[in-house]
């Protein structure tokens, strides 16, 4: 693992020449190389800085300048800091036994994979013997309700939708419908929106306040770049996010956005999307994404 980082680091280390121990300047050079790898992997600049200062702190703490095998120690530290920042592993979904339904609200930028992921989560719940209800809360994208309806049909999960109405009211009525009809999980598929869209963010907050979801998941595209900081912060600043789902990680994007979003939101990455089919949802493992980001 860590191909790209290993390559970059061995270039730096070979530059140290025959000496066994490294100097402060060598450490600085090493940090610059790590920075290069992380930026090319799409980790946000501010998060890279935070990462490097943690690595430097640990390296100094591990007495790296006296170390006879500094390269091994540094790679070990990088891996540890990355896993520490990407973890903990937490795939649990707290069920609400008081009101009889557990509400999960999905939100995120346009095209991030929310509707598909709603289907994936519904399928996951069915496997765990739950009775989920999908709710078509995107009333603005052409064909969005139909898309969720087709998704639900393909996995035998009911979809709640209304001919017309505001998303807030549709969601509120959907929860009441779920309790009434004996569904135990409600998954709200909301419309994609920009974090800077005041009106739509207020709509999302309304949905949140009216349905009091047990879980709010931010669905993020695995190929996001530096903007991941702003968009994640935009959502996290409005209401409590409980988990992150990174999609489209079946591609070759390095996925640095995972580190960015995790660091900004401060909540666990619960799952990753690894394909278009509704089975393509995997539990998140920090060590796997760590080695991917490091190339």
């Amino acid at each position: 693992m860590f191909d790209n980082l290993q390559k970059g680091l061995s270039r730096v280390f070979s530059g140290f020449g025959r000496k066994k121990k490294i100097t402060e300047e060598d450490l600085k050079e090493t940090l610059r190389e790590i920075r290069k790898v992380l930026l090319e992997a799409d980790v946000a600049l501010s998060v890279v800085r935070e990462f490097l200062s943690k690595v430097e702190e640990k390296a100094i703490g591990a007495d790296i300048l006296k170390d006879l095998k500094p390269e091994q120690t540094i790679v070990g530290i990088i891996n540890d800091v990355l896993c520490e920042l990407m973890g903990p592993v937490d795939h649990a979904i707290p069920y609400n036994t008081k009101r009889g339904v557990t509400v999960v609200m999905m939100c995120g930028l346009q095209g991030s994979g929310k509707t598909t992921t709603c289907g994936k989560l519904a399928k996951w719940f069915v496997k765990k013997s739950n009775k989920p209800l999908l709710v078509a809360a995107d009333l603005q994208r052409p064909g969005a309700v139909e898309q969720l309806r087709v998704v639900g049909e393909s996995i035998g999960v009911s979809v709640y939708s209304e001919e017309k109405g505001r998303p807030q009211k549709v969601c509120q009525r959907a929860v009441a419908h779920a309790i009434d009809k004996g569904f135990d999980v409600v998954i709200l598929d909301t419309a994609g929106r920009l974090a800077i869209d005041e009106e739509l963010m207020r709509e999302l907050k309304d949905i949140h306040d009216l349905t009091t979801p047990e879980q709010v998941y931010l669905v993020c595209d695995g190929m996001l770049g530096q903007d991941a900081v702003k968009s994640a912060k935009g959502f996290a600043d409005r209401f409590e996010i409980d988990g992150i789902i990174m999609t489209k990680l079946d591609g070759d994007a390095r996925g640095g956005a995972a580190l960015t979003v995790k660091s900004v939101v401060g909540k666990p990455i619960k799952w990753i999307g690894t394909g278009e089919k509704l089975e393509a949802l995997e539990e998140f493992h920090p060590d796997r994404i760590a080695s991917r980001i490091l190339g």
Binding site: K36, L39, E40, A41, D42, A44, L45, L109, Q110, G111, S112, G113, T115, Q140, R141, P142, G143, A144, E146, Q147, R149, V150, V151, S154, L194, A195, I196, D221, M223, L224, G225, Q226, D227, A228, K230, S231, G234, K248, D250, G251, D252, A253, R254, G256, A257, E276
Partner: protein
């Protein structure tokens, strides 16, 4: 204030930060900053804008050298193939192109070659209706190449000016899906040898460095002739296109600035570069 100072590490770092945060590739950003440093070595900075003006000029140089207009076929229909990764904004961007062409009095047909994703045909059908475009489909599950072929045939028969083909989102790492795209291109060329005359790759403006390899791979599969960068109404800057333009020689032709069909703008290098620094 920078005035009266000479360039130092802190100033260069803060400039580098702006470039990197705009998703300009780190290697391109470093090169620009080195150029800046070389140019202003030992000179005293006269105004705050001096450094950004220098950078803006350099960036505009990298973007402005290619024509950004849509390619027009010698005789109609002009066929435009739309490709790109999942969720980038292909279907919505087609609506925008159709709207633009319709405003210009053109007869437009849209072909539904995304026969895979749930309700893809329905989504496109609604946009065809809203833009007053003809719509060619064989329904969900049909062979995309068959739809492309018959749409091309019908476009010729019905005297259409522009035929725009929607395709399913796909990751460039999926060999089979990329081969399917090449097949769609070949099949269209069977009907009109020079078609598709234009192949626009839709790039999500929030995408990071992966956009470069996307452009490389899609270009191999369908000879991409232009980029359409979407979602620039958000906070993302789309700086990845600079390297795509430079290393893969594909110009940006349009940008998407919203979810409505009117939210399309022809690419303007000057505006784009100004926005990188705003």
């Amino acid at each position: 204030t920078l005035v009266g100072k000479t360039i130092d590490r802190d100033i260069l770092d803060s400039v580098l930060e702006v470039l990197i945060e705009a998703d300009i590739s780190p290697v391109v950003a470093e090169a620009l900053v080195s150029e800046l440093e070389a140019n202003y070595k030992r000179t005293v900075i006269e105004s705050e804008e001096q450094l950004t003006t220098f950078l803006k000029e350099k960036l505009k140089e990298q973007l402005a050298s290619r024509p950004c207009d849509l390619i027009v076929a010698d005789k109609p229909p002009t066929v435009i193939l739309i490709v790109g990764v999942n969720g980038s904004g292909k279907t919505t961007s087609i609506a925008k192109l159709a709207w633009l062409l319709r405003e210009d009095g053109k007869k437009v047909m849209i072909g539904a070659c995304d026969t895979f994703r749930a309700a893809a045909v329905e989504q496109l059908r609604i946009w065809a209706e809203r833009t007053g475009s003809l719509f060619e489909t064989k329904g969900q599950g049909a062979d995309p190449a068959a739809v492309a072929f018959s749409a091309t045939e019908k476009a010729i028969e019905q005297g259409v000016d522009v035929l725009i083909l929607d395709t399913a989102g796909r990751l460039h790492t999926n060999k089979n899906l990329m081969a399917e795209l090449s097949k769609i291109k070949r099949v269209v060329a069977k009907k009109i040898p020079e078609a598709p005359h234009e192949c626009l790759m839709i790039v999500d403006g929030t995408t990071g460095q992966n956009a470069l390899v996307q452009a490389m791979e899609f270009k191999k599969a369908t000879d991409v002739t232009g980029l359409f960068v979407t979602k620039l109404d958000g906070t993302a800057k789309g700086g990845v296109v600079i390297r795509i333009h430079r290393e893969i020689d594909i110009p940006v032709k349009f940008i998407g600035v919203g979810e409505k069909m009117e939210n399309i703008k022809p690419f303007d290098a000057g505006d784009f570069v100004e926005a990188l620094f705003s």
